[in-house]
Amino acid sequence: MTSPLKSRRTLIMAAAAGTCAIAAAAGGPAAAFVLAPLGIEGLQGRWVMVLRLEQLKEGEPKRVAIVSERRDAWTLDENVELGSVWLVRRGETVLAFSAVCPHLGCSVNAVGREFACPCHTSAFDADGKKKSGPSPRDMDTLETKITGPLVLVNFRRFRIGVPEKVEA
């Protein structure tokens, strides 16, 4: 037989613990709330018109902004700059490179006909191949097509800082 005092204390402790548990249960929905962004899908590849072929000079890199639609949480923007790409004309074809450095995501610059990242000194040749610096891979190429006078780019984003080119 336990003393009445002791059993009363146990009961009160149990009640207190129960109250705490109920209060803590709010942590469940709160955690789900905070973790929700894990379920947000990345941008799907999309064809975006960027300029007319005649605006590109043979072999000279040109940075163009990708203007397209974007859903950002509660905002729908139909005409927003999503990022930019480097275009290089090679005769009647056009090469496109994502301007995002595969190292840590800074914005890559053109230096003459080649490319360099102003952050951690990664350098790439005229074909976007890695020359020197810390980047784990070449610049990310994007598909292009030419429709009449217009150049279109299939805009995508890729994971940063990994050797493989995988979509983000």
Partner: protein, 560 residues
Amino acid sequence: MKKVFDFLDDRTGYRKLLAHALDEPIKGGSRWLYVFGSVLLGMFVVQAVTGVALMTSYAPSETTAWASVHYIQFTQSGGWLVRGLHHFGAQAMVILLAAHMLQVAAFGAYRKPREVTWWLGLSLLGLVLGFALTGYLLPWDQKGYWATRVATNIAGTVPIVGAATQKLAQGGPEYGSLTLTRFYALHVGVLPALVVFLVTAHVALFRKHGVTPAAKADLSKVESFHPAQLAKDVFATVFVLGIVLVFAIREHGAPLDAPADPSSDYPARPEWYFLGLFQLLKYFHGPLEVVGTVGLPTVVGLYLFALPFLDRAPTTALRGRIKAVAPLGIIALGVTLLTVQAIRDDARDEAFKKQRDKATELATTANRLAMGGVPPAGPLVMMNQSWELKGPLLFDKHCAGCHTLRDHGVEKDRTAPKLDGWGTEAWALSMLKDPDADDRFGRTFYKGEMKPIEKDREVIAHFLASQEKGSPGEQMVKTRCTTCHTYGGEGDDSATGLAPELDGWGTQEWLKAQILNPATKKTYRENALDLDRKGHMPRFDDEMSPDDADRLARWILSLR
């Protein structure tokens, strides 16, 4: 008065608490080297007060963050001072933390039985860096945006959990409004709560174990916290606050870069205290990248955590503990060297300096434009609607293939007139003198079409540039030029001629009409773009809005 305090003490017992705080015994006596903890606490209060003040004007979203910080910095009275104190106070805290840590390490104050105090201190160090990282993004300017993107990308390189961590920090796969709200929640809610909790525990444990006197201190001497140490602490806090104030006043607040633009190029750099880490990343290539981003920082963290166990010397004298604390010295030296190297690399990098100057110029313009108010669609839209920012971009995109103007366009590729000074009397005069000059129509298909004018050139040029109705120049144009040109729509061969309308020439309206479509008779005749008019300037109304044409025309004329 005494009665009031007696009443308060009777009900709260505050005198005992106060006495407990003030009478803390300090073995070996008070020292200037003991001030850092107290100064940090003082600065934390400054950050909290200025931070809450900033919260009352700041609005975290992509379209409002930059605009609200601009308002605080430039419009709200005293806003710049509060923002400046918060900005430089944060930097002071980082320096004070380093000093506090080095003092604790030098005195061996992490040793048994103070391990937990040390770990709480390390956690607080992490929290302060967390404050720095999250706070840097909140203005949503170029500097904060690009530097923080690198930081979250670094989180993404952590094996296994990296991708999820990055997504959680960013509030999704990309930067957006949720990134701001999350960073804001961390900065003003989660981190302050944790700091208050940990600081309380840190100080309580410090009081439990007392100060660690220097090895050579005379332990028979015991001073109480009040008055000597308290006076030193207060003086040091006021001194640091004074320095922070000087910086805030000198900078008139804190710098605000141009609004964050994800499609821009920007030479990203972190705040100065992260430059060492930044520099480190240049040295780890390819698959080794994660060593620099995660590996080395983790090793440093583990070492700091384990330091109380590594140091088993029987004495607190630095000499006996040199092996255990040597790595800390090496880390401090390494961070210093890397920081210096990062600064030197940038100072020698001409391309970087050029980009930096360009970014500063853009920031100045954006800040000036926003003085007139930012539209609800946000500061990027504001910049897009500005003729002085949009004009040169439009020129580069649409005009620079054929024309040149100042440093826009390539002289050797030019096939159309040089536009420097277009619309001025000098330009008109040179055109009348020698229309086929190399920098006029000499490189076009229309070379040889216009004959030089010998008589009254100055009078005609003056009229063309001024468009002064009723002037002698106007009469001359009406009578002598309309064989080929039109004036007010009238001309001898008004349906077929090659030459443009001269009424309104050189004005923004004329130029805008010409850019949108040269073949409307407002500038050139309706058949100007017919197939036989090879090499004529094309129309741009299919790829440029009338508003943009107006911005472009205004910019070109602004350079006269």
